[in-house]
Structures are given as structure tokens and as C-alpha cells.
Symmetry: C2
Subunit: 431 residues, 2 copies
């Protein structure tokens, strides 16, 4: 059920499980659900499905201001200063000017560095790290309520002033890290090579934990709704290029073919393949909650593909892909194409020491249900994950029986990265 007249605003939505008839929330009204949602914080509600509240009631607790952390660095000349105070004194002076009265509350000295803690007018704690190399690192924490008195503009000016006073040869202040505000813990995601990316999330559409993973759907101005699984960007409404590159649209003919999809719970791959005139697409996805949420909130990507588990040209099996691959193999079913579009982190029930083992098992079993002239299609990683891609290709090169593969890449908007895709065929010798 969807609460009627829910107020569209910039606040996180809350999903609560009411589908299990004997659960603690069965038979509750939308009003009492609202009350529950206030008592049971979002991330503690397990395996929810689709009671979707987006309500002004949360405003009072959620609409807190962001606290800001400013991180600065200055490169000074190593041997220019005879004592740390020659560096610290001018910094104190500028802090006094821009923030308020400065009290030094701690200093620790070693051969490699001097660490100094300054308490600025009860408004901010400032930490200074003076490295023996001449590097000066500074952290300035600003309380939300003081964010107007020390903002990014002032920080930039402060940086220039400090750079001048220290005669630093280079300096950098990065734009403030926003923390503790209602959307702040949703803003920051990581690229495939562990770079920090801040997203323009303007509201949280869903934030739930299924038995398998942490599922978030975040609305961003640039990418529309963005599906995030276990803190990894999975697919956004902007990302048709992901699916089109994965299926090699225009280069492969799927007419009348039998296709197996592993994963791809967002439904976009199924939706795009159904446009290609296949005979039958079988999709195996472990997480029903992902499918339900995407069917509702990622509809521009998955269309009506997830509305029904069966159709004239598709069937969706809710289950573990390894188990289902074994079943298919035992039934001697063969496919023209197998797609692996699983999340990067194995969803296996038993924890794997080697992350790769899961993917290798998937690949090996996939090849065993593939026709001799069939293709296995999968995604790799971001182009900047050079080592990770090399490892994957080395695994492909070592498969028995051997395979041939091609790779291509496409810039996926919501990933903010060029992504690599693989097309794997059994070698001619094994045909």
C-alpha cells in the first residue's frame, strides 16, 4: 500500500515490511505506520517491501543542518622554519580573525611531526599536523549553526591568507565534507578504484535492508533515480548506455534466441532484451525486494519487465544463481546467451574468502549451460581499476576449457566512470 497524499519533499522515505501477515506491523493503518516509522529507524527494519512513506512528519527530526569539515594542506619549505611556532603563530592569528578566540589545548611533538589541537571560540576544533617534510595538514570542523560564519568562500580566502603568511609553495582546500544532515550520509559514494564522489542526492526514495543486501534508491538531479546496493552504484535512470553496451545492441541478433540472465534485479537488462525479439529470456535473481523497488522507482529503466514473473517471452526465477545453474545443467538446458550482471560483491550465503571464487563459479557453470556457439556476456569494472581488470582477464585466460574474449567500454553516467564489458565465447576448438 502506498500512503495517499504523501508529501513530496526532500526527506528520506521509509519502507516498512507489512506484507508478512503475521508480522508485528500487520493490520496497521497508515497513521500508525507513520508512528512506527518514527520509532523504528530506517536501517533497522529488515526485509521490507513497499509500504512507502514519504512524510512531512519526519521533518523535525531529520531537517538538521549539515556540519562541515574543511580539510586544507600547505606545502612549506622544509628548512625555513626554526621552530613549529613560526608556523603555528600565524595560523592562530588568522583563525582568530576568521573564526574567533584561539586556545591551544594540546601539542604532541615527535621527530616526524608536530600535532596541535586548537579550540576556536568554542565554535570549532582545529587540528594541525606539521610534518617534517614541510607539509601542513589542517582540519577545521564547523558546527552546522556556525556554517554561515565560516563557509566555503571564507575557507578559500583563509587558505590564501595562510598560504601567504607561511610563504607556502602550494596549498589546497577541498570543498567541505557535509556531515550529519538528513541527506549527507547518502551523498558520498565511491568509484570502482575507491575515489570519493559526491552525488547531488535531493531525496531518498527508499532505504531498506533485504536478507541479502542494503538497498537504496536515491534521487539525483543528474541521473534521476539511482539504485545503490551495499553502497555500490548499480544503475540509474540515466544509464541506458550500460545495458546497451552489455547487450552489444546493434551488433548481436537476439531474434528467436534463448537467453539466461543471472542477477540484473533492476530489470533493465530484461526489458531491453525483450525489445530484441528473443524466444525466451530466463532471469534468475535472488533478491525479490530489489525487483519490487525497481519496478516501482526505476520504471524508466525496467519498464513493465518486472510486473510479472512470467510472460510470453520471459520468466523470472527468484533464487540463487549457482543453485539454478546446477538445476539447468542437470536438465541439460542450453542457452544461446548467458548474461552475468551480478553485483561486484558475492551474494553467496557462505562467506567467500576469495571474492573471485564466486565469479569464477558463475562463469564456469554459465559456460556449461551455453551452446557451443553461444556467448557469455558480463561487465568488468571501471577503466581506472587497472589491476582488477587485469586480474579478471587473467582468470578468463586461464579457464578450462579455454575461451576467447573481447572487451569494450562505455562511460556510464551515474558511475561517473568508463566501464568495461566482456563478450566471452568458447574457443573454436571446443565448438
Amino acid at each position: 500500500m502506498q500512503v495517499a497524499g504523501a508529501i513530496r519533499n526532500r526527506l528520506p522515505a521509509i519502507c516498512i515490511d507489512v506484507t508478512s501477515g503475521n508480522g508485528p506491523y500487520s493490520g496497521t493503518t497508515s497513521r500508525s505506520l507513520l508512528e512506527i516509522s518514527l520509532r523504528y529507524p530506517v536501517s533497522e527494519v529488515s526485509h521490507p517491501s513497499l509500504v512507502y512513506l514519504k512524510c512531512g512528519f519526519q521533518e523535525s527530526i531529520m531537517e538538521t543542518e549539515s556540519h562541515s569539515t574543511f580539510l586544507l594542506e600547505f606545502h612549506t619549505e622544509k628548512n625555513k622554519f626554526s621552530s613549529p611556532d613560526e608556523l603555528i603563530a600565524p595560523i592562530k592569528e588568522l583563525l582568530e580573525k576568521d573564526i574567533g578566540e584561539v586556545k591551544e589545548v594540546y601539542r604532541r611533538c615527535s621527530d616526524e611531526s608536530v600535532n596541535v589541537i586548537l579550540d576556536c571560540d568554542m565554535k570549532s576544533i582545529v587540528t594541525l599536523q606539521l610534518k617534517s617534510s614541510g607539509l601542513v595538514l589542517m582540519n577545521i570542523d564547523i558546527d552546522g549553526q556556525h556554517s554561515s560564519t565560516f563557509n566555503q568562500e571564507l575557507a578559500k580566502k583563509f587558505e590564501t591568507d595562510v598560504k601567504g603568511k607561511l610563504a607556502a609553495v602550494a596549498s589546497k582546500s577541498i570543498c567541505p565534507i557535509k556531515r550529519g544532515g538528513p541527506l549527507d550520509r547518502f551523498r558520498y559514494l565511491t568509484s570502482s578504484d575507491e575515489r570519493l564522489l559526491e552525488y547531488d542526492v535531493d531525496h531518498v526514495v527508499a532505504d531498506v535492508r533485504s536478507p541479502f543486501q542494503h538497498i537504496q534508491i536515491l534521487h539525483t538531479i543528474n541521473f534521476g533515480n539511482l539504485l545503490v546496493l551495499d553502497d555500490l552504484q548499480n544503475l540509474a535512470e540515466s544509464d541506458l548506455v550500460y545495458t546497451e553496451t552489455l547487450i552489444q545492441r546493434g551488433k548481436i541478433d537476439y531474434t528467436g534466441k534463448n537467453i539466461l540472465i543471472l542477477g540484473a534485479g533492476d530489470g533493465a537488462l530484461l526489458w531491453e532484451l525483450l525489445k530484441e525479439g528473443p524466444n525466451m529470456v530466463t532471469m534468475v535473481e535472488i533478491d525479490e525486494t530489489v525487483m519490487k523497488l525497481c519496478s516501482q522507482h526505476l520504471r524508466s529503466a525496467c519498464g513493465s519487465a518486472l510486473d510479472s514473473t512470467t510472460g510470453p517471452h520471459h520468466q523470472i526465477i527468484v533464487g540463487d544463481c549457482l543453485t539454478e545453474l546446477d538445476k539447468l545443467k542437470s536438465q541439460s538446458v542450453l542457452f544461446d546467451f548467458v548474461f552475468s550482471d551480478l553485483t561486484d560483491i558475492p551474494l553467496s550465503i557462505k562467506p567467500q574468502n576469495k571474492e573471485w571464487q564466486f565469479l569464477l563459479d558463475v562463469m564456469e557453470k554459465s559456460l556449461s549451460v551455453l551452446k557451443p556457439d553461444g556467448q557469455f556476456l558480463t561487465h568488468g569494472s571501471g577503466v581506472s581499476s587497472v589491476q582488477s581488470l587485469a586480474d579478471f582477464e587473467s582468470h578468463l585466460n586461464n579457464l578450462e576449457p579455454p575461451v576467447e574474449f573481447k572487451r569494450c567500454q562505455a562511460f556510464v553516467p551515474s558511475f561517473m566512470e568508463d566501464w568495461v564489458f566482456y563478450q566471452v565465447s568458447k574457443t573454436p576448438n571446443n565448438k
Copy 2:
């Protein structure tokens, strides 16, 4: 002069001005230039042009390890803890386990927050902010030499452990901010709406200050060489879509037309327009250094367009666009198209209180040298800079004589944003 046999590596390059024959570096050899480059840090060398050193000599000073700053937040239940120590004690315990012996060195209490400074085994200073709302903010600074003992993997585990101990309803740790390493101050750039983006910079191609701006060319794995002017992403080798959308390729016929370009020192706009069969493209760019650097390092974007200031279908004027517009107006020269592709921040000599005034002056003067049926084409900002775009459109709507405009947008890879472009025409009434 380019130093022969320069070693291509991941270290910053250094540019030094040797073109002014009477300057302090005139007559120096490449070896002494290298020595100069070590003594005169990059950013202090003014108005350099194209002596380009990329040398292993710098390794010893530049190849320092990154220091890491981990920022975490925990959302706890406001009224659950009777004293701050109920929160601080378990955090201390986990820090002892993961980093080392913890000594509390400072505590400040107010109605709104408790701030605590912990010194962990002389390896790390940890600051804790406990807010009365139940929010806990934590900063952990890790010295480069200890980065293997507390890395991102451990930080993630630490986050989970603290979340559990505090029974926090939500938590977040963002991937560590890298600081002080040779490439760290080049990594972090900002989107148009002041979001933090980390780039996969693997070497610095150029880093110089011209009389007009700070010019950087950074090599990234995802986007190739990226031109950065005054800390703003300008154009990368990946960004043909920027130029194609600006010129509305395929939608506007430039054959035999007379075109004026303001700015666009990277040369990509000139290069692409020259492919469209124009009669004459006149380009006015104030900063010769940008053009020289792009001609050398952004060649896949600008081709040979900047190799010569005149050609059969183009001329490049090095000068201030407002001055040149006045000249053109006084000569009654009219253009079919005027492009404004200036940096977002005014390059005017006199500082402008209102940033907009410069752009408005450009626009007004541009319209005055435009044929009645001509078009003024320019870029706006990122789609998430909603207010900034609205302001710009409001200015367009208030122009006298009035104009008509259309907008479109395209995702520009190196900006990691959807960018807005405008096509402005004098209204039919003024034709």
C-alpha cells in the same frame, strides 16, 4: 625547448619561463633548469611557457605517501545515553583494538555538544563530536607510514563495530581523503554545485600560472588529459560532446558563415567549427599560455587549430574580449554566429563585484556585433546548479532589446555532470 629524453613517469611536470631572454633563467642548461625546478616550486614560477620537464630527479622529494583522513558519522538515539562516557568508552575500546593505546587529551562540553580529542598511540589524533541530537562525528587522521595498519578495509570494519557497540541506527564512513602525497592536491575538484569529486589523476602534465589564471593539465585514466583553469574543469580529451552540443552539430549549417569565438582557449571549438566549412572564424582569447599548452597536450581535442594564429578560414586574436568586441563594433563588423566559451569566473582586469556583470557585458556587446538573424551560443552550468541557471535565464529574459533562447543539455564526461547550453537569437521583432 623541451628537454630531450624526459622520463615519462607519474610525477608532476614543471614548467619554467625561459622565453624572456633577460629573465633569471636565460641561458640555462637543462641540468641547471632541473636544479632550478627543485628550488623554485611549481606554483611560484610565473608566466612560464613550455619548457617542460618531467624528470626522475624529483622522485625523492615528491614520492611521499598520502596521509589519510577518515570521516565517520553515527546516528544514535538521542535519549539513550545518560552520559557522554557511555558513548566515548566503547569507541575508545575499539580504537585501542584497531589503532593502539588511547589517551584522552581534551574534552569540551556545552549544551549542544561534547568534543573529545584522543591521542592514539602517537599514531593518530582522533576527534569526536557528540551532538545533542544523537549524532556522533569522528575524524581519524592516519599518517602515511601507518596507512597499512589502518586502511579503508579496517575503517569499514571499525565503522561496523562502533555502530554495533553504540546500537546506532545508521552510520557512514566515506573513503579516506588522501592528503599531502604528490598527486593529492590535484585529485579533488568541485562540480558546478560545489560537490566534491575525486579524479583518477595519474600524472600532472603541466601546472603553471599565467598572468590571467592558474593553468593545470592533468592526465586522468578516464578522461585523458584534462585542462583545469583556476581549479575548474574546462575540457578533457574525452569531451567532444561538449563542443558538439555547443555548436549544435547537425542542427546548424555553418557553411560559408562568419563566426566569432570569445574565449575557448583550448582550441576545440575552433577545430570543430573549421570542419563545418565556415568562411572565417575569428577567435579572441586573452591567455596565450592556455593556447600553447593545449596545442601541445590537448591535441586530440584541438587538432592543429592553434598551431598558427592565421589560416585560410581562421584568425586568432590574443586579447581581452570586451576590448575586441568594442573594436569590432566600431568597425561595424557583423557575424552570423557569436560563441561565448569563457571561463565561469570573469577574467576582467578590474575585479567585479557582481560576477554576472562580466557575462552580461559580453552578451550585450556580442549581440551588437550579431547579424539580425544570427545566433549567440554559449554554455550555462551543470543541471544541478538550479538557481544559477534560473538566474542566467532571468538575465536573458530581461535583456534589452529582448532575445529568444532555447536550451539543451549533454552529459560531459570530465565534468561528471549534465551541462546546459543556450542558443540565443534576437527576437523576430528586432530582425
